[in-house]
Structure formats: structure tokens, C-alpha cells
């Protein structure tokens, strides 16, 4: 298998333990169709080599280890806890407000937290329903953050929203996956004014463009800064050493035990 094929494969897989990594050849058409049907949520980089080996072989460690990418598994009903009732309420409220059920691409329940992967075009109306519907009432948008899963992953940029319902004392997570070539997502500032600075931060650090934001400018970096520092492929600086032009390599090029 060439490197190109490795990059293009859709890393769909089961639990991590004791499973061989999938490749494009191993995916059955049915699996691929299932993957497409749920909106193709992919979220994880595959790792290889015990000592972070890339390209040339490692002479001091085992470079043959291949760990497939982690993909959050879609949850099956019953989700458990309050998640089932809540999801029913949410779907009902969405139907009342004319938001299609397909707006939610995938539901994941992991470590007692529920995540809704949302189609980006439905994000804003969905947030409005979540805030205003009497059975949902997510008054507080706790956090907006960007996540970059690295250059080799499709849909590498994620915009993650943590909503809190103060009335019902619940928390949920909304997640929008984005291609790096088209990092546009509607801004939720008009529903949650608190997202203002947090979206600016995600733009500054990850280059996620929040359409409709009142003033999407850099917030932490200087205005004329190039690039988005928290992206995984953002070049890091090394430290020059005052001897024969040597340099301490940047942290992502040092030998790493990861």
C-alpha cells in the first residue's frame, strides 16, 4: 500500500483493542455506504511507529506499530441516562421548527457525555431551538472551541460547542466538522452573545471562519499575524544554539515517545 492510499482511506473502525488497522481495500461497500449515510464524521488521526517515526525508519525503536485513527462511534438506542428522553424532545422541537432530522449527522455517547454532530447549515436554527424551546432551555453557551485533528485527516477542523441548560442542569456538546479548504461555519453570536470572543479565538487559532460574526478579527495574536498557530501543521520555531550554527529542533521534530 502506498502512502497516498494510506492518506485517502476512510478510517472507520471499531474499538481500538486488538484490531488490525483498516485500509481502503478492507472496507466493504456497505460499510462505506453506512459511513456516508451518517454524514461521514471522521475525527482522529492514525498513529504509526512506537516512537513517532515518520518517513525513514527508526533505528532505535519499533517503527512497525500501526494504530488506526479513532473515530467516535455512533451510539445506538438506548443511549442511557437522560439522553434518550432528551433526544426525543430535541427531535420533536426540531420538527416543530422545521429543522430536518438529518441536521444531526451522528450522536455519540462517550464517558457520560453526549455529542451531536451537526450539519453546519442547520447549526444556527438548531442553537435557537435549543435555547428557546421550553423542554430544552440551553441558556448558557459554556464554551466554543476549535479542534484540529491534523493534516492527514479528512474534515480535520472541528468547531465544538458546549451548551448548558441551567433549568434542567444538563450539558450537551454540539460538534461541526469542517474541511480545511472550506472552513466556514455560521456564527452563533446572535443566539449566544458570549460566543463572540470565543469564536474570534477559534478563528485566530484555527482559521475557522464564523460567517455572520459581527467582527471576526484576531484576538490573541497581533492583527498582522500570518497563519493560525494552533493548527497541527503550523510551523514551529527551533532554538538556535550559539555554536557552529546548530539548532535545537522545534518540538514537533524532536524525537518523541508518542
Amino acid at each position: 500500500m502506498s502512502d497516498d492510499e494510506t492518506d485517502r482511506r476512510i478510517p472507520v473502525r471499531g474499538p481500538l483493542a486488538g484490531e488490525s488497522p483498516p485500509s481502503a481495500a478492507e472496507l466493504t461497500p456497505q460499510e462505506e455506504a453506512e459511513h456516508e449515510a451518517r454524514g461521514g464524521v471522521v475525527a482522529g488521526r492514525s498513529r504509526q511507529g512506537m516512537f513517532g517515526v515518520r518517513g525513514s525508519g527508526d533505528t532505535s525503536g519499533y517503527g512497525g506499530l500501526r494504530l488506526p485513527a479513532y473515530v467516535p462511534q455512533p451510539a445506538q438506542r438506548p443511549y442511557g441516562d437522560w439522553f434518550d428522553d432528551f433526544t426525543d424532545d430535541l427531535l420533536a422541537a426540531m420538527a416543530d421548527n422545521g429543522i430536518p432530522a438529518e441536521a444531526i449527522q451522528q450522536v455519540t455517547v462517550d464517558r457520560g457525555e453526549i455529542t451531536y454532530y451537526v450539519r453546519r447549515e442547520d447549526l444556527l436554527p438548531l442553537c435557537r431551538v435549543l435555547r428557546d424551546d421550553a423542554s430544552l432551555r440551553f441558556e448558557l453557551c459554556s464554551s466554543v472551541s476549535g479542534v484540529d485533528y491534523g493534516p492527514e485527516v479528512p474534515q480535520r477542523l472541528h468547531s465544538v460547542y458546549h451548551l448548558t441548560s441551567m433549568t434542567f442542569r444538563r450539558r450537551i456538546r454540539l460538534e461541526v466538522t469542517l474541511e480545511v479548504d472550506d472552513p466556514h461555519v455560521p456564527s452563533v453570536v446572535e443566539v449566544y452573545p458570549t460566543a463572540d470572543w470565543q469564536e474570534r479565538e477559534a478563528w485566530d487559532m484555527f482559521g475557522i471562519v464564523y460567517d455572520g460574526h459581527p467582527a471576526l478579527t484576531r484576538i490573541l495574536m497581533p492583527d498582522d499575524w500570518d497563519g493560525h498557530p494552533q493548527r497541527k501543521d503550523y510551523p514551529l520555531g527551533g532554538i538556535p544554539v550559539e555554536y557552529k550554527g546548530a539548532e535545537i529542533p522545534p518540538p514537533d521534530q524532536r524525537r518523541a515517545y508518542s
Partner: protein
């Protein structure tokens, strides 16, 4: 005036603007009339244009004693009234979130403790709770009690800094001296308990670095005795004082709906009438076992926020006292998870050359067990794997909801650590508090938000 061209040595600005013109207030014609850019000198020299309003845009900060750190306020003034206010941040951005991605899960604690430097232990605990949730383990009971003890001590010291800096910003230097004096007591105690005054890195994934030192109970009791005697002094000095009341009452008003829409949490939200405290709402670290009140007010002004913080100090002292009995109960219990694949391999002890790996441990790995040596080396250099996934763990820091959104890709380093910093989010409420008020009240409002710029900029 000399014809020699003068350049300001610090900024390189050409100050010689020509004959007969004020070098400090250059005039520039725009479509909205003349605009004067005042760069220095005396306010009296600001030319008064006849028939022109007094609209001034003023930059306050980033270097200003009363902006609470390197915070820059851009205020548009109409006389003494603020018509618009905006905040500029980022002067203290250090890239801590990115840095943690190149350290092991344990090493990241050393970074995140330096973000909100007035609440380091809340940051450490929130991060460690997030990592433990990803790992699917839980720290032992004694470690949780120690965390509660440290967090409450930290809350006291943080609120004392609010009283100190807030007092200073509003002109009460006595308040500053009082606040820092009491904070010193807390820092002495924290130094005794954890080894460091600030940036402790004492709370670790899986528990805490080590058990409390011998004689901790007595020290804490002495501390409580001193604080119980001194806290009423604040009420005597501030609460009933007319100047303090007039500076704060009715100032920086932010009603409940505004606070929620702007995401303000902590004392700001509680001052608006919602008893929202995560220690009660979704208890962590066993907070449900402690008996304490959530002080709440309906006034929604700076005075209410001041009063709530003093009352919270009182409540925290009560929690600290309650931990003593629980600590006595669990004397000798482990403070780190039993799992040898996560727990730090070395036990620390004081040797002839200071604190370090215990002699017993060194003897074992160097002389008896090669496997122990390998295990020690792997765990210290490589760290432990954390199963992939993401979690969001909020705790109640002195400033509000401090949330950690941590994503793991299954490696020995975090893939993403995002911090929902209460200072960062709360600062957004500053324009709503100050617009339409007086310049002097801006200071009171910023002080009542109590932002820590290390946390805002990260």
C-alpha cells in the same frame, strides 16, 4: 523653536511637526472635523476647538495600574461619560494550550498551573479531573479531600487579591495592604502544604503529588484562627464605609439575563440573583459531603460582587475546617491511584540533599529490579497512554466556570486542551457594565469582574 528634527527616542516618532504647532497634539483634518492625537504632555495643552463637542477616544492601558494587568481599554468619552468601551487583549498570550500538546499528560500540569496564576490549584484540579475522566479512573478519597482543601485555600487567596487590587484601584491603599497581608498567610500555608507559593503542580492526574506534611492540621487550625479574627476587619473597613459604598453601589449594573447571555459566571452571575455554583449544581471531588452556603444577591452591582466575595471567603474557611476531620479519618490512605501504569513511579522524600526520589525507590530501581527501572523510565519519559475521546469538565473557580475541553487521540500527549477561562468570558460583560457611566466607574467595574490576564490570554 529649533529647526533640528527631533525624534522621540523610545517610539521613533518625529515630534518636530513644524513651527507654531503643538508637538504633543498634532491636528489632522478629517471629514468629521479636526482630530487631535494627543501623545503626551499636559492635558491643558489640548487645543480647545470652539463649537466642537468633547468626544475623546482614550486608550487606557495596557500599562496602567488600575487595569488589572495588561488589559487595554479603548474608551470613547463624551466629557466624563463613557459612550462606548471596547477591550483589547492578547498582550500576555503565551500559547500554553499549544504547549501542552508537546508534553506528556503529567507535564501539562506544570503549564496549566501558570495560566490563571491566582487560581492555579483550580486549574490543576480541573485538568486532572478531565484526564481522569478520559482514563476512566478516579483519584482516591484522600486525594479528593486534599484537592478540596487546596482549592478552598486558593479561593480565599484569590478573593483576597480581589480585595487588595480592587481596593488599590479605588484608592484604598489600606485595603491593598490588608488584602496582601492576609493573602500572604494563605501563601505561607500553601507553601507548607505543597512546597510552593504559586504554580504548585501539586495536583496530578490520578491524585496529588504527595501526602500532606507532618503537622498540617495544626498549621491549618492556626491559619483558621487568624483568618476568622481578621475577616471581620474587612466589613469594618469597607462594608459600612460611605466612600466605598458610593463608589460601588449601583455601579456596573448587569442584570441576570444580560449575565447569562454574555456567559458571565461566578460572583457576577450570583450577584444578579442566580445561586449558580458548580460545587452545588454538579458536585466534583466530593463537594456534596461539605456543608456550605452559596451567597447570592439581587443587586447586580459592584458592591454586591464585593460583598459576595467576602462572604465566600467565610464559607471557604468553613469548608477548610470540615476537611480537617475527613483528613484525620483517612490518615495514611493512598493519595494516588493504585494503577501502576498511571501513578508516578517514584515516591518523594527528603534526603540529605533536599526533596527527591526516596532512597528506598532508588535502591530498588538501581540495585534490585531492572523491570522497575524500565517502568520508571518509560512512565517518566514517555508517559501513559490515554484512550482516545473528548471530555469537558467544569469546576467552580473563584471567577466562575472553569472548563477543560480535553481531546485525546490515544497517545501519551494531549491532542487538544482548550480552557474555558472564566476571566476571558466574563470580560465580555465589561462594555455592558460601563457604557453610559462615568470613567471612574469603569475602574470599579473592571475590578468587580476581577479578570486575571494570565488566564484571559493564556
Amino acid at each position: 523653536m529649533s529647526h533640528e528634527r527631533l525624534a522621540d527616542v523610545t517610539t521613533g516618532t518625529d515630534t518636530a511637526v513644524g513651527e507654531g504647532r503643538d508637538p504633543y497634539a498634532a491636528e489632522r483634518r478629517t471629514t468629521e472635523g479636526p482630530v487631535y492625537t494627543v501623545t503626551g504632555g499636559d492635558w491643558d495643552e489640548l487645543p480647545s476647538a470652539p463649537g466642537h463637542d468633547e468626544r475623546i477616544v482614550i486608550n487606557m492601558g495596557p500599562q496602567h495600574p488600575s487595569t488589572h494587568g495588561v488589559l487595554r481599554l479603548v474608551l470613547e468619552l463624551e466629557g466624563e461619560t463613557v459612550t462606548q468601551s471596547r477591550l483589547v487583549i492578547g498582550y500576555l498570550h503565551t500559547g500554553i494550550e499549544k504547549n501542552t500538546e508537546y508534553r506528556t499528560w503529567t507535564q501539562a500540569v506544570t503549564f496549566i498551573t501558570r495560566m490563571d496564576y491566582l487560581a492555579p490549584l483550580h486549574n490543576e484540579t480541573a485538568y486532572c479531573l478531565a484526564v481522569e475522566k478520559l482514563l476512566g479512573t478516579e483519584a482516591p478519597r484522600r486525594a479528593q479531600i486534599i484537592r478540596v482543601l487546596l482549592m478552598e485555600l486558593n479561593r480565599i487567596s484569590s478573593h483576597l487579591v480581589f480585595l487588595a487590587t480592587g481596593g488599590m484601584e479605588l484608592g484604598s491603599t489600606t485595603g491593598m495592604v490588608f488584602g496582601f497581608r492576609e493573602r500572604e498567610e494563605v501563601l505561607h500555608l500553601l507553601e507548607f502544604l505543597t512546597g510552593l507559593r504559586m504554580n504548585h503542580a501539586f495536583v496530578r492526574p490520578g491524585g496529588v503529588a504527595q501526602d500532606l506534611p507532618v503537622g498540617y492540621g495544626e498549621k491549618i487550625r492556626d491559619f483558621l484562627k487568624v483568618m476568622r479574627k481578621r475577616i471581620p476587619d474587612y466589613h469594618r473597613m469597607f462594608t459600612g464605609q460611605p466612600i466605598w459604598q458610593r463608589r460601588l453601589k449601583g455601579v456596573g449594573h448587569l442584570p441576570l439575563d444580560g449575565a447569562i447571555a454574555l456567559g458571565a459566571t461566578g460572583p457576577i452571575l450570583r450577584s444578579a440573583g442566580l445561586a449558580w455554583d458548580l460545587r452545588k449544581i454538579q458536585p466534583y471531588c466530593g463537594y456534596e459531603e461539605y456543608d456550605f452556603e452559596v451567597p447570592t444577591s439581587y443587586d447586580a452591582d459592584c458592591f454586591a460582587r464585593y460583598l459576595l466575595r467576602v462572604e465566600e471567603i467565610d464559607q471557604s474557611l468553613g469548608i477548610v475546617e470540615q476537611t480537617l476531620a475527613k483528613l484525620a479519618e483517612t490518615e495514611g490512605d493512598p493519595v494516588m491511584v493504585e494503577d501502576g501504569k498511571i501513578a508516578w513511579p517514584a515516591k518523594l522524600s527528603i534526603g540529605p540533599d533536599g526533596l527527591g526520589n526516596s532512597l528506598e525507590h532508588v535502591r530498588k530501581i538501581m540495585g534490585q529490579s531492572m523491570e522497575s527501572l524500565i517502568h520508571h523510565f518509560k512512565l517518566v519519559t514517555e508517559g501513559f497512554d490515554v484512550p482516545p475521546g473528548q471530555v469537558y469538565v467544569p469546576v467552580e473557580s473563584p471567577r466562575g466556570e472553569l472548563g477543560y475541553h480535553v481531546v485525546s487521540d490515544g497517545g501519551t500527549r494531549p491532542m487538544r486542551v482548550h480552557v474555558r477561562e472564566p476571566s476571558f468570558v466574563n470580560l465580555q460583560s465589561m462594555p455592558a457594565m460601563t457604557e453610559g457611566g462615568l470613567v471612574a466607574d469603569v475602574i470599579a467595574s473592571v475590578a468587580s469582574i476581577d479578570p486575571v490576564m494570565g488566564g484571559v490570554d493564556r
